[in-house]
């Protein structure tokens, strides 16, 4: 499969992307940029998210649905074509939204939830294996390392948007245009770089090529 020619959804021009991770990782901006790109590509988009109490270091999820006409803002259980997990454990938490054809992009970063950091529970050791054992196509990516390489720790989200972009039916050009509109000039270059590096990681996977 070539990047930019997604066959993941019910058709090339509709699909469901689940963004999940931890409050503070830039999930809402990432999902918003992706939504803007899809609208620019002439598609209808609905994206659902939750603000308020849930954001205080809690688990955060955003549902993005695109197509010719989108009604419900929520992805149904088993209905996500792609899961973009900003944190390993969170990829596992939202498993019921996936099906055996789903693609899971997993940032290999670990952020310890409080029951783990206080020693009550342990962090599962084999997240990627557990996902693979379900028959899912798993695409690990070290977005934190990419962000560090480009010199902006907060660019994790753009690296992951880059990774996601390789699966979406829109041109790279549109992403770059929206990033230019949305990201302040001071940090635009590093974010664009993170985006490209993230995109390259996915494009280099055997399954994608």
């Amino acid at each position: 499969m070539k990047p930019g020619a997604a066959t993941s959804g019910p058709s090339a021009n509709s699909g469901n992307v689940l963004f999940c991770g931890v409050g503070g990782q830039g999930i809402l901006l990432a999902s918003e940029i992706t939504s803007s790109v899809l609208i620019m590509a002439g598609l209808d988009v609905k994206k659902s998210e939750v603000h308020g109490m849930a954001q205080r270091g809690g688990s955060v999820v955003a549902h993005l649905r695109y197509g010719k006409k989108v009604y419900s803002p929520l992805i149904e259980p088993g209905g996500a074509d792609i899961s973009l997990a900003f944190e390993m454990l969170e990829a596992l938490r939202y498993l019921p939204f996936l099906n055996s054809k789903s693609k899971v992009i997993v940032n290999t970063q670990k952020i310890l939830p409080s029951p783990v950091s206080t020693g009550i529970e342990t962090y599962p050791a084999d997240v990627l294996e557990q996902l693979r054992s379900k028959g899912l196509s798993v695409f690990p990516i070290d977005a934190f390392e990419i962000a560090r390489t480009v010199g902006e720790a907060r660019a994790v989200n753009m690296a992951l948007v880059g990774a996601l972009s390789a699966f979406l039916p829109v041109d790279e050009e549109l992403f770059l245009r929206v990033i230019e509109q949305r990201i302040p000039e001071k940090i635009r270059k590093v974010n664009t770089e993170a985006f490209m590096k993230g995109r390259d990681v996915i494009s280099n996977f055997q399954e994608v090529r």
Binding site: I39, S48, V50, H51, G52, G57, G119
Partner: protein, 601 residues
């Protein structure tokens, strides 16, 4: 050129709609999921926006503005309308001059709320029309329609969103700007604006006539829409539930009610007569269903559809057809990731201190409600905005002198301004001895950092007069008012011990800014704390703070030996350098002096 198609949330769309509708005055109190309406509207030219001290004041300000002949908006979350219900019910009698719309943002599933009341009931109870959009596109268009209805029928109009409308982003198009049909100015119309019984009785009759007019209007209102499909099954639905019905039953016939109240009875009867089986799909209460059944129409609703929590397409499909879940994968047990107070949060220090007192902690609404969670477990009640002081005082009156030293009320600065001050007046006035802790972190934290009267900043960031909380408490008649630094747990604990045992009202103000405020984020000289691993005995005292930056590293017996610990040491603490905010609350808790400031390299 401005792009016509925009990606906006329901709240952003409402802000744009208010601008396009020519709203001149907008007020509200922050509350999820309504907050972003005013945060966005304040960026538009020509609209006065404000955070009011509470929702009641917000509605009164908007009502006054509409009396002066301009279009006005008030925004709040569902429970905020309880606070504002008093002006709402009588505003239905006075009616308006300029258009008046009140947005109520409901929160089915309680993503960020203490209850999930269905505010469609307010439209019925207050006798005002209510519009209910399904998505951001409709949110903007419906708001503009609401102003036209308000002015045409001389009535306040409620616009109800839910979390999945307010916080959903979707496509919205810019539209034409409009203006009020009223002329701004002072008009004395006592028979309309002075609700003395004699006037109110006359207005009451007008209200009935108006509702009759609105019922007729509803029959022709284009947003009450028939969508004919297969006539074997028909659905009556509104709001976001409409989207779930369309998703689950794309072939079915649908009557979509854009106006949640009053109902278009003729339309409902005609629709019901045409379809085979009639279902009512709505979140929360059987609001439509009860009405349809009262019309003598056979239908099914809450006997199939859950009457609590959010719906989605799966729930709607399963409830109606009985089909099994499509999901292939069951949930995998993984550690929970509950929200938590941030590293460096001043609330953590004060709640740790209070938890050492063994008292009943009457809490309130804000970030600090998270102190109820483990390991702090430092809140014993939380009901509504401002309730902490009244409930603590009520317990004290019930138990008498025996309760001295056993109860404490805890409330945030913004919540105290909202409705805590009246509770404090009661304590003084009725000779109580309550101890009230006011957590002054200089902002409204949970909803995303809105200023409040005690900060003196306006919604758009202009500095005005900030209310001095300490002076305010003294003015109310509290003689013992202390201000402490909550990061200094030991000193704070001393003051608290002294005050809870005092047989007079006292207030302890903890003063320390929220760590997420820009001025705190920009700090250059932040201390970094570290655990000297050789000194850590694994006693876990520091973990009792529940700070996300302090991590427990478990050890096997062999590992312990290898690292030079006692064989039986189960692990040691470590401070995550990325997360540590340098507040230093943890250091004095370590009896072994293992937590120290890292020397600069």
């Amino acid at each position: 050129m401005e792009e016509k198609k925009l990606l906006l949330s329901g709240n952003e769309a409402i802000a744009l709609g208010a601008f396009e509708a020519g709203v001149k005055v907008a007020s509200g109190y922050p509350g999820t999921p309504s907050t972003e309406i005013l945060e966005n509207l304040c960026k538009y030219e020509g609209v006065y926006t404000e955070w009011s001290p509470n929702e009641k004041v917000a509605v009164e300000v908007a009502l006054g503005a509409c009396f002066a002949g301009v279009r006005a908006l008030a925004t709040m979350k569902h429970v905020g309308l309880n606070v504002a219900a008093d002006p709402l019910f009588t505003a239905a009698y006075t009616g308006v001059r300029g258009g008046l719309v009140i947005v109520t943002a409901d929160d089915p599933e309680m993503h960020s709320s203490q209850n999930e009341q269905d505010n469609r009931n307010y439209a019925y109870a207050a006798k005002v029309p209510m519009l209910e959009p399904s998505d951001p596109f409709e949110a903007k268009e419906f708001l503009k329609a609401a102003y036209r209805i308000s002015e045409q029928f001389d009535t306040p109009v409620l616009l109800r969103t839910t979390t999945r409308v307010a916080h959903v982003k979707g496509m919205v198009e810019r539209g034409e700007t409009e203006s009020s049909s009223a002329v701004p100015g002072i008009e004395k119309i006592p028979e309309k604006f002075v609700m003395l019984p004699a006037n109110a009785r006359r207005r009451r009759v007008e209200l009935e006539k108006r509702m009759q007019g609105l019922r007729e209007f509803a029959e022709a209102f284009p947003e009450n829409r028939l969508e004919w499909g297969n006539k074997k099954t028909g659905f009556i639905t509104s709001g976001v539930s409409y989207l779930y019905v369309k998703e689950a039953f794309p072939e079915a016939s649908v009557l979509k009610l854009g106006m949640a109240y009053p109902f278009p009875d003729k339309m409902i009867k005609e629709f019901a007569a045409e379809v085979g089986e009639l279902f009512i799909v709505e979140e929360l209460d059987p609001f439509i269903e009860t009405h349809v059944k009262a019309l003598g129409i056979k239908c099914r609703g809450k006997e199939l559809i859950p009457s609590y929590g959010e719906l989605n397409a799966t729930i709607v499909r399963k409830s109606i057809t009985g089909d099994a879940d499509k999901a292939e994968f069951a949930p995998v047990p993984v550690p929970m990731r509950p929200p938590n107070l941030c590293p460096g949060c001043p609330h953590r220090g004060i709640f740790y201190a209070i938890s050492k007192l063994g008292v009943f902690i009457a809490g309130d609404i804000g970030c600090y409600t998270l102190a109820a969670l483990k390991p702090l477990s430092a809140m014993d009640s939380c009901v509504c905005m401002g309730a902490s002081i009244g409930t603590a005082f009520g317990m004290e009156k019930a138990l008498g002198k025996d309760s001295l030293g056993k109860i404490i009320a805890v409330i945030g600065d913004s919540t105290f301004m909202h409705s805590g001050i009246t509770g404090l007046m009661d304590v003084v006035y009725n000779k109580g001895f309550s101890t009230v802790v006011i957590l002054d972190n200089r902002t409204t934290g949970m909803t995303g950092h809105q200023p409040n009267p005690s900060t003196g900043l306006s919604i758009s960031g202009d500095q005005g007069v900030g209310i001095d909380i300490e002076a305010l408490c003294r003015a109310v008649g509290v003689k013992h008012v202390y201000t402490v630094n909550p990061h200094d747990i030991e000193a704070t604990l001393e003051v608290l011990k002294q005050e809870i045992n005092r047989a007079e009202p006292s207030v302890v103000i903890t003063k320390s800014p929220c760590v997420l405020l820009p001025e705190m984020k920009k700090r250059k000289h932040k201390a970094l704390y570290v655990v000297l691993s050789e000194k850590c005995t694994g006693c876990r005292s520091c973990l009792k703070l529940g700070c996300p930056a302090i991590e427990w590293v478990p050890l096997t017996e062999e590992e312990a030996k290898k690292l030079g610990y006692k064989d039986k040491q189960k692990g040691f603490s470590r401070i995550n350098a990325v997360l540590c905010d340098g507040c230093g609350q943890c250091a004095p808790l370590c009896k072994f002096k293992a937590i120290v400031v890292k020397e600069k390299e």
